[in-house]
């Protein structure tokens, strides 16, 4: 008895998202599919105890969920017999091909649907975490420090739009793919970044989010091994490999230069570097591959002093040509400072700030402060750290900057 229950729970853990994805394809309705999924698992507990666990539990659950949904639609149709849409939906469902062959594609369809550009940008992330990763609304709200009600509302609105505007449940065609894939990768990377350097709050990182984004990256890689997918996965793995060294035991931020590289996760690093090589060899690489390549150069350096800054500056040059962005320019400025000295870096940053860009970005001011400090320009360094402190909302970073200001001595 408890054996069967444990088996049902195992199938739920391992396969519920696949089954849900297939049911959404068959039913064309997220809520109906979720209801059908839960009913199917509910029935499974009783039925599998009586008749034994079926040979293919997943197919059994899809089929049972489909019948449950047909029941629901029939009941609804009885109340609103004149609704032609409902009858059409029922008709379609009874004739639909529901064979288990297509399930992996179903998950891919689900990801592309959740990240459809017609959905509000701030709904794509929660919807993907809810539907593809099975995080609860409360978990998502906690991760993004929002109210569960606000997250729930965004998800409800997005689902309603998918249904009412008829956003198709499909993998985009080849000519739409690059743009649509971008939006999927962007969502995954957003989730990762929020996990890797939580923008607000007491904690520096949120492991649940990085874990989910890497899981999504692996899934996408399995289903669609495009170079940029490899690049993004490699980038996340390489960043993740540094996590143990990124915070001190007391929860303080440790900069890349000062990290104990023995703490870096060698397995993740090796996997990330291999992916970078594979992606670069396709010669169809883009921004994610280039960023991953930069992370790989760091990973390959035995110590901070032995980093190949020349190569890193070169990679930033290529990256800037692909995606002109002041934040990337800032990162390049830091690499230039490592290669040519603090003054060279400072001039680059002042050029960016003089154009009126990154004025409200705390990292621009902390980098400027750091270069001024190295050049002995203490007052300028202090003012720049002050500005960075005003712009930072994250507690460990604020402590870090206060520490730097203190180390400058009294004004």
């Amino acid at each position: 008895m408890s054996d069967v229950r444990a088996r049902v729970e195992q199938v739920y853990r391992e396969d519920s998202r696949r089954i849900l994805a297939t049911l959404i394809r068959l039913l064309g309705d997220f809520d109906l599919a979720e209801e059908a999924l839960h009913e199917a698992f509910f029935v499974a507990v009783e039925r599998w105890q009586r008749d034994g666990v079926p040979d293919n539990p997943r197919t059994w659950l899809v089929s049972t969920g489909r019948f449950k949904a047909i029941d629901v639609l029939r009941r609804r149709a009885r109340f609103k017999a004149s609704q032609p849409l409902l009858l059409a939906q029922l008709d379609e469902l009874e004739q639909a091909d529901w064979s288990g062959e297509d399930v992996e594609d179903d998950r891919l369809r689900l990801i592309f649907t959740c990240c459809h550009p017609a959905l509000a940008a701030d709904a794509q992330v929660p919807l993907t975490l809810r539907e593809v990763c099975d995080l609860t609304t409360e978990e998502i709200a906690r991760a993004f420090l929002s109210a569960p009600a606000a997250i729930a509302q965004r998800i409800v609105r997005a689902k309603a739009k998918i249904r009412d505007a008829k956003i198709p449940y499909q993998v985009p065609t080849l000519n739409e793919l690059p743009e649509r894939l971008d939006s999927v990768l962007r969502v995954i990377y957003l989730v990762f970044n929020e996990g890797y350097s939580a923008s607000v709050g007491a904690e520096l990182t949120r492991e649940d989010l990085t874990r989910e984004s890497i899981r999504l990256g692996r899934l996408l890689m399995e289903l669609l091994p495009e170079p940029e997918v490899m690049g993004l996965l490699a980038l996340m793995l390489l960043h993740e490999s540094r996590r143990p060294a990124r915070t001190s035991p007391s929860g303080e931020l440790v900069l890349l230069d000062d990290q104990d590289r023995a703490l870096w996760d060698a397995g993740l690093m090796a996997e990330g570097c291999a992916l970078v090589e594979r992606a670069l060899s396709t010669r169809r690489f883009g921004p994610y591959c280039l960023q991953a390549a930069i992370a790989a150069v760091h990973a390959e350096a035995p110590s901070a002093a032995e980093t190949d800054w020349r190569q890193i500056v070169g990679l930033y040059d290529v990256l800037l040509r692909a995606v002109p962005s002041p934040v990337i320019e800032l990162n390049r400025a830091v690499a230039v400072a490592k290669r040519d000295g603090a003054l060279a870096g400072l001039l680059e940053i002042e050029g960016i700030l003089a154009r009126g860009e990154l004025q409200d970005y705390h990292l621009a001011h902390s980098a400027r402060a750091e270069f001024c400090r190295q050049l002995g320009r203490v007052e300028e360094a202090r003012a720049a750290y002050q500005r960075a402190l005003e712009l930072t909302r994250q507690e460990p970073e604020r402590r870090f900057i206060r520490g730097r200001i203190k180390a400058l001595g009294l004004p």
Binding site: Q83, A118, P168
Partner: protein, 114 residues
């Protein structure tokens, strides 16, 4: 599924920008949508200067000049189309020549609950 594609544009730029479509191009595009079997109706509209707004309040008709609100972009025309799904509708809407100077709002048509 029916979608209404509302073409909005700043009227001052609609016919004077380098990307502005000629009437012949607009008409050719409408014909191509017609040919694909997706067309239900499409029209270009006279300037918003010619618009009149009516309201019925407490059984009394009020008539005023112009549209109800000042906006940067004005309704310049529409396509009512029949498309398989939103992606197909967006494809049709995005290729409307006036989308190069203005914007096209794509709205699914609601089935009345009767």
């Amino acid at each position: 599924m029916k979608y209404l594609c509302l073409v909005y544009s700043d009227e001052r730029l609609l016919h004077s920008s380098p990307d502005s479509p000629e009437d012949a191009e607009c008409s050719a595009y409408a014909e191509s949508v017609q040919g694909s079997g997706r067309m239900i109706a499409a029209e270009a509209l006279e300037s918003v200067e010619t618009a009149t707004t009516v309201r019925m309040r407490n059984g009394k008709l009020s008539i005023t000049d112009g549209p109800f609100a000042e906006t940067k972009e004005q309704l310049a025309g529409f396509y009512l189309i029949d498309a398989k799904d939103l992606n197909e509708a967006l494809q049709v809407a995005g290729n409307i020549p006036a989308a190069r100077v203005g914007s096209v709002e794509v709205r699914p048509v609601r089935q009345l609950n009767v």
